[in-house]
C-alpha cells in the first residue's frame, strides 16, 4: 500500500526536529486539488509541538501564473518572522526526500481566523478596538521588508492590475454593466506608478489573519505577494466584502480608516488616502471578478456547490461599486 501523508510526515519530522519521535493527529483542513493544508502535532519528549503543513501535492508543483509559489511563501514568512511581523515560524521547507510535494511546515499559531467570530465573540472584545491601528502597523512593517532579501515576485502596477481584471472579466463572457463602469472609472482615475515600490502582501484581510484576545497573532497566505504600490494593501483591507456586516467600520469591520492610517504612520509608513481609495475600488472589483471565477470553475468541471454559491455573491460587489462610484442621495 502506498505511504500516506501521515506516514511521510512521520518520516520527515525527526530529520529536522531533533528529539522528535513522530507525528500525531494529522487532519486535512482545507484547500482544493492543487494546494492542501494539514494540521498535526510533532510528538516530542519535551512536549508536543503544534504544526501546519502547507503544500502542493506531487504533480501539482507548478504555481499558477499569479501565485508567488510555496517556496517563495516560505521565504516571505521567514523574513516576516525575523522582522517582528506576527507570523508563524517556518520549521521546514519540503525537499524531494520528504516525498510530500512542494511546500513547507510551520508552527501552528493558536487563535481565530473566522471573521464573524473575530467581529462578534466576547473573547475578542478587548482586541477589536485596537486591531485597525495594529494592522496598519503590521502593514508598514511588511512594506519595509528589504526587497534584496526577498524572493523573485511579480512587479505590478495599477495599469497591469486593471488589464488583468478586464481580461478575466471578458474571459467569463457574462456582461456586467457595473463592472464596465468600474473598469472605466479605474482607467480614468489611475494615479500612475507609485513613488515607492515595496513588497505588497496582496491578500491582507480577514481569513488570512490569526487573531487572539490580545490582537493580531499571525499573517498568513502570501500566495498573492508581489512588488507594487504599498497603498494597495491598505485599500484591499477596506473593501466592503471584508466588513462582514459592520459596514460603517471600513477596516475589516473593526475600525476607521484613520486608525489604520495612524498605525501605519506610527511605524514610519506614509499614507496617500487618495491612492488607498483608488485601490479600494480596484479591490472591490477584484473580489467581484474572483467571484465570477468561482462560477467559471463550477461551470468548467468543479461541481462544488460552495463555488456555485460564491458566484452568486458577485452582485454584492456590484452594489458596493455603485455605492462607491454612483452614491445615491
Amino acid at each position: 500500500m502506498a505511504a500516506t501523508t501521515e506516514d511521510r510526515l512521520g518520516r520527515s519530522v525527526p530529520a529536522w526536529c531533533p528529539g522528535a519521535t513522530g507525528i500525531a493527529g494529522a487532519a486535512r483542513l482545507s484547500g482544493g486539488a492543487s494546494q492542501e493544508t494539514w494540521s498535526f502535532d510533532i510528538v516530542h519528549p519535551d512536549g508536543n509541538i503544534g504544526a501546519i503543513l502547507r503544500r502542493a501535492p506531487p504533480g501539482y508543483g507548478a504555481a499558477p501564473e499569479r501565485a508567488a509559489g510555496l517556496d517563495a511563501e516560505a521565504v516571505l514568512m521567514r523574513e516576516a518572522y525575523e522582522a517582528g511581523i506576527p507570523s508563524p515560524r517556518v520549521l521546514h521547507v519540503l525537499t524531494a526526500a520528504d516525498e510530500l510535494g512542494t511546500g513547507f511546515i510551520m508552527a501552528r499559531v493558536a487563535g481565530e481566523t473566522i471573521p464573524r467570530k473575530i467581529l462578534r465573540d466576547a473573547q475578542f472584545a478587548a482586541a477589536r478596538p485596537m486591531l485597525a491601528r495594529q494592522l496598519g502597523g503590521v502593514l508598514a512593517k511588511i512594506h519595509r521588508l528589504d526587497p534584496a532579501r526577498l524572493p523573485k515576485l511579480r512587479r505590478m502596477t495599477a495599469a497591469k492590475e486593471i488589464a488583468e481584471l478586464a481580461q478575466d472579466y471578458r474571459d467569463y463572457q457574462w456582461p456586467r454593466p457595473v463592472f464596465e463602469l468600474a473598469l472605466r472609472w479605474l482607467r480614468d482615475n489611475d494615479p500612475g506608478p507609485s513613488a515607492e515600490t515595496t513588497l505588497v502582501h496582496g491578500d491582507f484581510r480577514h481569513g488570512n489573519l490569526i487573531v487572539g484576545p490580545d490582537g493580531a497573532r499571525a499573517v498568513l497566505d502570501w500566495e498573492l505577494a508581489h512588488f507594487g504600490d504599498p497603498m494597495e494593501d491598505l485599500g484591499w483591507i477596506c473593501v466592503n466584502s471584508w466588513r462582514f456586516g459592520e459596514i460603517d467600520k471600513p477596516v475589516g469591520g473593526l475600525g476607521r480608516r484613520e486608525e489604520l492610517f495612524a498605525g501605519y504612520e506610527a511605524e514610519g509608513g506614509h499614507v496617500d488616502p487618495a491612492r488607498v481609495a483608488f485601490w479600494e475600488v480596484m479591490g472591490t472589483l477584484r473580489w467581484g471578478v474572483m467571484c465570477c471565477g468561482m462560477m467559471h470553475r463550477f461551470r468548467t468541471g468543479d461541481r462544488s456547490m460552495e463555488r456555485a454559491m460564491i458566484g452568486r455573491r458577485t452582485s454584492e460587489t456590484e452594489i458596493d461599486l455603485l455605492r462607491l462610484l454612483a452614491p445615491r442621495g
Partner: protein, 128 residues
C-alpha cells in the same frame, strides 16, 4: 399546463424539510455543506418568485436606454459595451437609475441580508 404544486412550492418544502428536520442532526463539515445547500434552495425560491417581473422591467429600461429591442442578455451586452466605450456613462439620463434598480433586484434574489443592500433598501420609499 404542468400540474400543481409549483416549483416554488416544491423547492420551499424541500428547503424547509432540510432546515427543520435534517440540519439539527448534522455536525461539522456536513452541517456547513447543508447550510450552503439550504441557502441555494432559498435563492432558487426567491428567483422563481421575483425574477419574472424584475426582468420584464429591466428589459423595458434597457430598450429605452439603447433605443432598440432584444433579449435580456443581448441588451445587457450592448449596455456593457456602451459603458466600456464611454458612449453611455453616469451623466446619461437614466443610466445610474437603471444600474441601481437592476443591482437592487439582483441582491433581492442573491443576498437579501447583505448589509449594503439592507442599507440601500432602507433609503427607498416603501411600496404603498
Amino acid at each position: 399546463m404542468q400540474d400543481e404544486p409549483t416549483p416554488i412550492e416544491l423547492v420551499t418544502a424541500v428547503a424547509d424539510f432540510l432546515r427543520d428536520d435534517i440540519a439539527p442532526a448534522l455536525k461539522g463539515h456536513s452541517a456547513f455543506k447543508l447550510r450552503v445547500a439550504i441557502n441555494a434552495l432559498d435563492l432558487v425560491a426567491r428567483q422563481l418568485t421575483l425574477a419574472g417581473p424584475g426582468e420584464d422591467a429591466e428589459r423595458a429600461r434597457l430598450s429605452h436606454l439603447l433605443g432598440e429591442e432584444g433579449d435580456l442578455l443581448d441588451l445587457n451586452r450592448k449596455l456593457a459595451e456602451a459603458i466600456g466605450r464611454g458612449t453611455l456613462d453616469l451623466a446619461t439620463p437614466g443610466v445610474a437609475e437603471h444600474l441601481w434598480r437592476t443591482t437592487m433586484d439582483k441582491l433581492a434574489v442573491d443576498q437579501p441580508n447583505y448589509a449594503s443592500y439592507r442599507r440601500e433598501l432602507a433609503r427607498e420609499p416603501k411600496p404603498s
